[in-house]
Amino acid sequence: MKISFRLNGVSVSTLAPTGTETLLEYLRQDKGLCGTKEGCNEGDCGACSIILTGENGVPRAMNSCILFLPQIQGRSVRTVEGISGPDGTLHPVQEAMISQHGAQCGFCTPGFITTMAAAHAAGEKDFDTALAGNLCRCTGYAPIVRAAKLAAQGQVPDWMQEGPQPSSQPTSSDLIFCPETSDDLAQWYENNPEATLVAGGTDVGLWVTKQMRNLTPLAFLGHAKDLRQIEDHGQYLRVGATTTITNFMEAIAPLYPSFNAMLSRYGSPQIRNAATIGGNIANGSPIGDGPPALIALGATLILRQGDKRRRMPLEDFFIDYQKQDRLRGEFVEAIELLKDQNRLRCYKLSKRFDQDISAVCGCINISVEGNIIKTVRIAFGGMAATPSRANKTEEILVGKVWGIKTFENAKATLLQDFSPMSDARASALYRSETAQNMLLRYFNELENTPVNILEVRA
């Protein structure tokens, strides 16, 4: 298919015959723009970061190694080559990176520059979070953060302003489909149930770059506006499936701060800017971070096949490892979640704090009336073949006195709910014991005992 977009301020078009050509390949091989680097080819190191600006005009850092060309149709891409002005004037982040000695070997630097420029444009000051998706092996990050702080004092240069979006009418073909509405998608997918659906592509991207699979037929969902709406219905939110994690976080931050804080450790900014809440559910991963929290919130899943829709509690969607309750040609359309719950706490345990996949993700939501536990929803990721509720533990807790003894007594029940496995992320024993301890953490946290190492300062 033909793809048109804006590259460093200039309109360009190219062909994407298979639909799975990546932006990184295009930049380096077709355009000779070799500033953007391939570090890992799976969205984990950030060396390939570019800035993508969509129709809402908000510049976002993205990983170009797992960004397929059809995903950028009609959008604006800015690479490291477009960060300095047309006359070569340096961007404030570039100047600061030089003066603060933020580059040593320089290979990660273009990715840092683009990510920093995106953060700079957004006025972002939490640099640990903003730069969590860029790995540097030389500097220890200290001079990079110094540079980011220094650059924050500088103005966003005029040349960073993207012009009007080029025509965003994607040209679909039989095998590569870019629906503009969810109705289009529903109809096409019913006729092409074997197709691969690509939303953010942060998982599917690796099927191409690492497994070297051929994915046609393919549908790219990013152009269907109605699929990425967040609607506030007063009592509940209806979140369209292709809402990015970033946009989802903005919506839930005031409602569920703990969920929001956990999601700030979901992948990296680049991943969260691409990945979608629906994709995180539909891929059925046992270690996705969205589902445990959504299950603990009692979210409802809305599936669609043609014109038919089904609603189910999210936990019922996950049947077994890589097996979901999804019919042929049926796709995740939205989730709904109630707005009135406020005792949700989300605990993500991973080998590295940022940008890592959970070993255990525990989400606990317990309401209390007087001194008695009234309702309990506990869901875990990383403890079973699917994200699952801790049914037996929930049962045991309901009606008990809100006190540490209750939790100490209940935690052993978790081992009836789950028998986790050992893998490169954690041993079974560690998973079991820490999952149990999350119950204790929950109680302690709600009783205001310090439990969060992130709040400790030297």
């Binding site: 040593q104 070997c105 520059i113 790995l135 540097c136 990050y141 080998k351």
Partner: protein, 768 residues
Amino acid sequence: MTLTQSLPHDAALQHVSGTARYVDDIPTPASTLHLAFGLSPVAKGEIRSLDISAVRAAKGVRLVLRAKDLPFANDVSPSAHDEPLLADRFLHYAGQPIFIVVADSHLLARKAAQLAKYEIDEAVPILTIEDALISNSRFESAPRIYSKGTPDTVFPDALHQTNGSLNLGGQEHFYLEGQAALAQPGEYGDIVVHSSTQHPSEIQHKVAEALNLAQHAVKVEVRRMGGGFGGKESQGNALAVACAIAAVQTGQPCKMRYDRDDDFIITGKRHDCRVDYKVGFDQHGRVQALEFTHYFRCGWGQDLSLPVADRAMLHADNAYDLPHVRITSHRLKTNTQSATAFRGFGGPQGMIGIERVMDHIAHFLGLDPTSVRRKNYYPDMSENAEPPATTPYHMPVTDFILGEMTHSLLKSSNYATRKASVAEWNAENSLLKRGIALSPVKFGISFTLTHLNQAGALVQIYTDGSVLINHGGTEMGQGLFQKVAQVASRSLGVTQSTIRASATDTSKVPNTSATAASSGSDLNGMAVLAACEKLKQRLSALVAKQYGCAQEVVLFKDDMVTGPDFKLAWLEVVKSAYENRVSLSATGFYKTPGIEWDRIKGQGRPFLYFAYGVSVTEVVIDVLTGENRILRCDILHDCGSSLNPALDIGQVEGGFVQGAGWLTTEELIWDEKGHLKTHAPSTYKIPACSDRPEIFNVSLWAAPNFQDTIYRSKAVGEPPFMHGISAFLALSDAVSACGPNYPDLQAPATAEEVFFAIKRAKGIKREL
């Protein structure tokens, strides 16, 4: 004139604008072909049959090469000729290259490489230290032993004794730029190779052997690497040789870069190992007798394992005067990637052994580990101890400054107060515990293979006054080119912008050593200085003759050449020299003086001097999960008279974080069949931005090197890596606050390891 100035990296502008070129960025003709290796699916076995017909038939494939198709030497070993480029019959590790695919694109080559069909007689691999010991699978016929005094006779008399064992994981380099090479066929069968390597001369030699060419027919150029850390000392050989052979066979440029997963699976890493110790000590914690046993898992090939394991032995004392000591080192051969050089080169493994011993003694006696450390320090050089204290390898330690440095850091880091407030916190909090620890670094500078301590340079002045310098060192981010340019700038008295350092090139400076052992600026700075001084001699002789003064009074400064009654512009003097037919190019050469080393006996003076440093790190741990954070780190580091403080501080900050990564989140896991399971950044976790200490104070110790090094500076590449040990010790300290027992923390101290160490401290048995 620009010496000691914090000038930015010489390519800083190129880095930030994306114009700095790495091997894969070099523009190449459309006819360039791309290579990928087909890899062994098993850790040990014999190939019964290999069917590559589907590989040959795959889209875009031009050529497939097996071991039997190689024209000459099938060897990419840097040492013992035991690493074939392609496995012939026997397979030694999962990931060993078996065949080369040459195709129209990187992707097509990778795709085709998956299509081979094997029949393999699989054998039981030797994977662990225990496996290797049982099978007596080792390099060198017996363990190497260095000793001093009579530990065996002293042990029975020691007031206290304890022993222990520390497992240390390996470490993937994770240079952001993966391994890469590009070979271009030239006239007369010559070949030009661009390689991301720390060792261009070795690439040249291996390519020459593989093509049966004289070394003068192979030119290797290295502009820069996107990180090296030791991982590009020998691991680039395979790609460069494969590309060179393919380029000759096809007549087209050939390029190869590893996909990140392949890079993990194929290349060597830091040696994982176990350090066993037995120590006798008095009531103050003074070590009376000590015995270490090192078990190094070297992988399938010898590579650089002998000098790495040697260096671990040479750092088993770290900063401590050990009267009676024996160090025994086993170098074990296993069916895993061939472990290789990595920043510190065995030093970190040796050093953390003795730091563990100090920690253990302090816990045993209930003393502050810092006081135990200081009691065991070598005497400071200011004490003029007579006779001087000696290392376990009988080298006098005459430049020790850690007593003074430690005193200074304890003060600036506010150690005593913080130690007390940590104790207070721990008394009040049951779920979050803090820990604080100090550790010193004493790191020996020089290659232990003495003849490697040499360097050459070529300096050329052009008629417009511009200066081009070339030397044998390679740029991997450490700022070597800038430091060397600063040396030339000071020597010639010209501004920095007049000087350009060109890419490292085996056709300009021959027979170079690897840029390794932290020696880059020590060796190459001296060689460049020697060349500059030669040129100055010639210019000052000319000017002295022209103006009738003594040559010695002619000064080169601020782009001027001045004498008693003249002041000439640099350009004017250069032009005059050209017109008077004075040669404006010169070579320089340097060899480190005064070192000699017998690695078999374990005696001599392997190092010209030691670089020192000391750090204090504070951490917090979550008792419920073992999760942890580094809260603060203070480092005082000795770079002698720094050539460039900003670049040196960059090495210190980066070294600490990399060292802390090795000991915390970076965990390599192989399955029971010998497959590396952590082969991408999704599962192998190097520190990310938020893992650096939030408070991070680094200062340099401002005292000139007492040895006559380049402008009295000290080497800085590797030593700061070992400041990461203080983070590990701080974690151990925090875990100690959870219970009465010694936590016996193992490395890497992942959250999981910290969690189980807490149980050990509490005396709770691990159950499953």
